[in-house]
């Protein structure tokens, strides 16, 4: 019975090895991969990953090789070799293997603790501080400033300056969410009534995708965000623009749009600074046209998708908190024109 087994077992082992090799080679995902680090924190974690990966491959190959060879070589004998000498040799081999395991694990523990220290937030310092609040199913982003009027509130897109440590204060408005930008850092949870602090840093300009990583209800799948790392002067310019109140309507259509916004249900949930709209249920729309996506990274900020979102958001992101809005075509076009002007 054992004859056909051997080659097949070897094929299985080979397959696993090939798969392991693929994993190591194909580790070049997009802009949201833990294997594609873009900041010092994710870089340190990446190094730890490769250390653990290498050790694991070695251990796995050794164990499977011993197992298969052990099973294979026993075919030559007629009986189990259980005399005292053989048992003693086995005991010695097992003891050595256990000792090696213990030493290896200790080494990994040290590596893990050192990495953990390196990536933990520094105790103090003058950092750009951003407060991020999780909502079902979007991210509220608030740039802190000692001067209240200088604070900036936006949603789902977080601009940061490159080469600087940025401190994030994470909390939640409703259920537990988790903030995760694999290219920059590991995840941290957003827990109601708790404030968790973490720091991130991007070394070079770029856009990094992140996504909620703790199951938070029906639209957990569509709760993405973007970190947009820009050179410091560019970031400063962006921040200055965000601090301004919204632009005033430039033409009649936009003015009509603003009127629609303020008289329909929009105003019940959203804020547009510089207008009477000041509710905090949904995302702040003061500079919504400066963002690239809507609905937490679900659809692009473009005329058609915005129209669909405003009128029937439930077909885009079923279960989200935005109601369906009954607007006449004229009202809708005016509203879109107004929203698109909010750079």
């Amino acid at each position: 019975m054992s004859h056909p087994i051997k080659p097949r077992l070897n094929v299985a082992a080979l397959r696993i090895l090939i798969a392991a090799a693929c994993l190591s080679l194909a580790s070049c995902g997009g802009n949201h991969s833990a294997l594609n680090p873009a900041g010092p924190q994710s870089e340190r974690i990446g190094n730890l990953w490769w250390l653990l990966f290498t050790v694991s491959v070695i251990v796995f190959v050794l164990v499977v090789a011993f197992m298969l060879y052990g099973a294979y070589r026993s075919r030559r004998r007629n009986n189990a070799a259980t005399d005292e000498n053989a048992e003693r040799r086995m005991a010695r081999a097992v003891s050595i293997a256990v000792a090696v395991t213990v030493v290896t694990l200790f080494g990994l523990l040290v590596a893990s603790v050192l990495t953990g220290r390196a990536i933990s937030p520094p105790p103090s310092g003058d950092f750009l501080t951003i407060k991020i609040t999780g909502h079902q199913w979007w991210w509220e982003v608030e740039y802190e400033d000692p001067v209240a009027s200088q604070r900036v509130t936006t949603a789902n897109e977080i601009h940061i300056p490159t080469g600087q440590t940025v401190m994030l204060k994470l909390t939640s408005h409703d259920v537990i969410h988790s903030f995760w930008v694999p290219s920059l850092h590991g995840k941290k949870d957003l827990i109601p009534d708790h404030e968790i602090i973490t720091t991130i840093q991007a070394d070079a300009p770029g856009t990094f995708r992140g996504q909620c990583a703790e199951f938070c209800g029906h639209q957990h799948a569509h709760m993405a965000f973007f970190i947009i790392a820009e050179p410091p002067d560019q970031f400063q310019a962006w921040l200055e623009n965000q601090r301004k109140p919204s632009v005033q309507p430039a033409d009649q259509l936009q003015a009509r749009g603003q009127q629609v916004f303020l008289t329909k249900s929009c105003v019940l949930c959203h804020t547009i600074q510089g207008t009477p709209a000041g509710a905090h249920v949904g995302p702040n729309l003061t500079h919504v046209a400066s963002r690239q996506t809507i609905a937490a990274g679900t659809i692009p900020f473009a005329h058609d998708s915005l129209a669909r979102w405003v009128v029937d958001s439930q077909s885009v992101k079923p279960g989200n908190r935005m109601p369906q809005n009954m607007l006449s075509p004229e009202e809708l076009q005016a509203l879109l024109a107004y929203l698109e002007s909010l750079k």
């Binding site: 833990a34 197992m67 070799a81 009534d193 703790e214 029906h218």
Partner: protein, 649 residues
């Protein structure tokens, strides 16, 4: 006193055996018909129902998994909406953890522990029946809810506040919370059964250092059950009261804390993994001798490893919570503990390799599953070490990497040994062998399908795919690996269908097995296949760890137990010296009645607090009935007393 040498002539022995057998058949038979079916307290009947029920839940959980893979096979799939998908993945996790994995492990223990230690029934047989019925009611209840579109949709660990009254209105989570309590009552009952049976009913000679490793594994598992399950029953009950009568254990607005739920849940949830895994390692250690033709290498090391795992398993629950605000020092402690648990697991693996290395390996189907188990479990263990490292865990926690990891540990580490054990013990259950040829197809398809499905998930997680998403967007780059995983799922399903076909076919047409088809070393192979209700005519005594291999014609057997009533021999816990004879209770309807009373209580309170007085009354009636029957005078068959038996010794 109850042990004698079988040195009389074989004819005498045989004649006496037949006489005894006839009496035992009468004594231990269940009443005929449906009544007998409902009242039986035979551990094999109960365990067999347990195994079949758990396997049906395994199939249901598997169907849910298949639907999940169908939904995720391509980006922006709309076969399921988020509402239905959330119910499917929550039911999948809930089913596999609460209704399949733990129950089937305990069920195997309830079937085989008494046989392996040479006794006639589990201790407390009516409690055993009660445990099964409670489990059945809990499982059926949550599936009825699921069919009625009130299936749980908050995941198998249902974090608050999402599962709290504010964010999960309706009855979905209530059914789930009550189901937890049901199944954990059953689990605790099973644990108590196994501990008492294993410590008090071993045959003479089976001192602590001769207990089969599988029985050791079940003892340690049972102790873990006793300490872990109350934590989750407490938390599920607190959740139920938060939802039903507005307590605020987990409500931050009223001074509660959602982190309390996570600590309580994972204080159960992590040991839970070992509650599933330790019996599986016990299965491997106990099957290996038959397929390496030597006693398992390193008995003491294996047993101590299991004990160590049992202890350390309670010290690493926080590694599920590294992304919360656990302080640095605390993180390091739990990292160290999580890595430390790799040591006992490593010892076990090295001991098994040593058995292979020095044994004469026979590549039967159970052995293939053991080899597959070792490879997959090592891989799952290694990713486990990765997850123990906090910085790396922060990256891959709650992603498909973790999904891959725990399926390697739970399917590779527990389901593979289970399939091996099915092939190994099927002849004992039915008297017929499963087809070896089909078994090899079963193994290879499962092995290949499993790796196709779950290996790519490691990479999906590293590439940023969170778990529990009902779909993913086009540009994420996750489509190909997801499609591959879904193809793998089809192969797994094929393999399971082949297994079922093999079972159905072999039940009728399998080769006759005989008492000990694998030439195994443990006592369950000493009796007929399938075993009679009383297990052994004369329970054998043992003088080594491999009793079936070292017995001789004059190895003593146990006599002197009364055959006309359900009597078992109690021995002392350490050396298994005969202690006293004990009469087991017979069939009773009250375990079922009490389970129904408990069921009414838990289900009605979901809708009205009146459930407590109503259900409490029903339970009180059932309990009165239960203990009343215990005071009936002992059945004394005419013409037979205990004296002659004593004289015989």
């Amino acid at each position: 006193m109850n042990v004698e040498s079988a040195t009389v002539t074989t004819d005498d022995v045989r004649a006496r055996e037949e006489r005894e057998r006839a009496i035992l058949e009468r004594t231990w038979a269940s009443p005929p018909g449906l009544w007998g079916w409902l009242t039986t307290t035979n551990h094999k009947s109960i365990a067999r129902r347990y195994i079949i029920t758990a396997f049906i839940f395994f199939l249901l959980g598997g169907i849910e998994a298949a639907v999940i893979r169908l939904q995720l096979s391509r980006p922006e799939n709309r076969i399921l909406g988020p509402d239905l998908y959330d119910q499917f993945f929550s039911m999948h996790g809930t089913t596999m953890m609460f209704l399949f994995a733990v129950p089937i492990m305990e069920a195997l223990g309830l079937y085989f522990v008494p046989l392996m230690i040479g006794t006639r029934n589990v201790a407390l047989p009516r409690l055993n029946a009660f445990g099964y019925y409670v489990y059945l009611i809990g499982g059926v209840m949550i599936y009825v809810a699921f069919i009625l579109n009130i299936g749980v949709d908050t995941g198998w660990f249902s974090y608050v506040p999402l599962s709290g009254p504010q964010y999960s209105p309706g009855k979905r989570v209530d059914f789930w919370a009550q189901m937890i309590t049901f199944t954990e009552i059953a689990a605790i009952v099973g644990g108590i059964e196994i501990i008492v049976t294993a410590f008090k009913q071993r045959v003479p000679g089976m001192s602590l250092n001769r207990i089969p490793i599988y029985v050791w594994a079940m003892i340690i598992t049972s102790f873990m059950v006793l300490f872990a399950m109350p934590a989750v029953m407490l938390s599920s009950s607190m959740l139920a009261t938060d939802r039903l009568i507005s307590t605020h254990f987990f409500n931050p607005a009223e001074g509660g804390d959602p982190m309390l739920w996570q600590h309580l849940f994972w204080f159960f949830g992590h040991p839970e993994v070992y509650i599933i895994f330790i019996p599986a390692t016990g299965l491997v250690s106990t099957m290996l001798p038959s397929f390496t033709r030597r006693p398992t290498f390193g008995y003491l090391a294996l047993v101590l490893s299991l004990v160590a795992t049992g202890f350390i398993g309670f010290g690493l629950w926080v590694h599920h919570m590294f992304a919360t605000d656990v302080p640095q020092l605390g993180q390091s402690f739990f990292t160290a503990a999580s890595m430390m648990i790799a040591i006992p697991s490593g010892i076990q693996i090295f001991c098994w390799l040593a058995s292979l290395w020095s044994g004469k390996v026979r590549f039967a189907t159970p052995m293939l599953f053991i080899l597959g188990f070792i490879a997959l479990f090592v891989l799952g263990g290694l990713t486990g070490v990765m997850l123990a490292a906090v910085p790396l865990d922060l990256q891959v926690h709650d992603t498909f990497f973790v999904v891959a990891h725990f399926h390697y540990v739970l399917i590779g580490g527990a389901v593979f040994p289970l399939f091996g054990a099915f092939y190994y013990w099927f002849p004992k259950w039915t008297g017929r062998m499963l087809s070896e040829r089909v078994g090899k197809w079963n193994f290879w398809l499962l092995f290949i399908g499993f790796n196709l499905t779950f290996f790519p998930m490691h990479q999906l997680g590293l590439q940023g795919m969170p778990r529990r998403v009902y779909t993913y967007q086009e540009g994420t780059g996750w489509a190909n690996l997801n499609a591959l995983a879904s193809i793998g799922a089809v192969i797994i399903a094929t393999s399971v269908v082949i297994f079922i076909a093999n079972v159905l076919w072999s039940c009728r047409n399998g080769l006759a097995a005989g008492n000990n088809p694998w030439e195994s070393d443990t006592l369950e192979w000493d009796t007929q296949s399938p075993p009679p209700p009383y297990n052994f005519v004369f329970p054998p005594t043992v003088n080594s760890r491999t009793p079936m291999w070292t017995r001789t014609a004059d190895t003593p057997v146990v006599t002197g137990l009364r055959s006309e009533c359900r009597e078992v021999l109690l021995t002392n816990p350490l050396d298994a010296e005969p202690d006293r004879r004990y009469e087991m209770p017979g069939p009773s309807i009250w375990p079922l009645m009490l389970a129904l009373g408990v069921g009414v209580t838990f289900i009605v309170v979901i809708f009205t607090p009146w459930g407590i007085p109503i259900g409490g009354t029903l339970c009180a009636i059932a309990l009165i009935g239960w203990f009343w029957s215990g005071n009936r005078p002992e059945p004394n068959l005419p013409g037979q007393t205990r004296e002659p038996l004593e004289d015989e010794l």
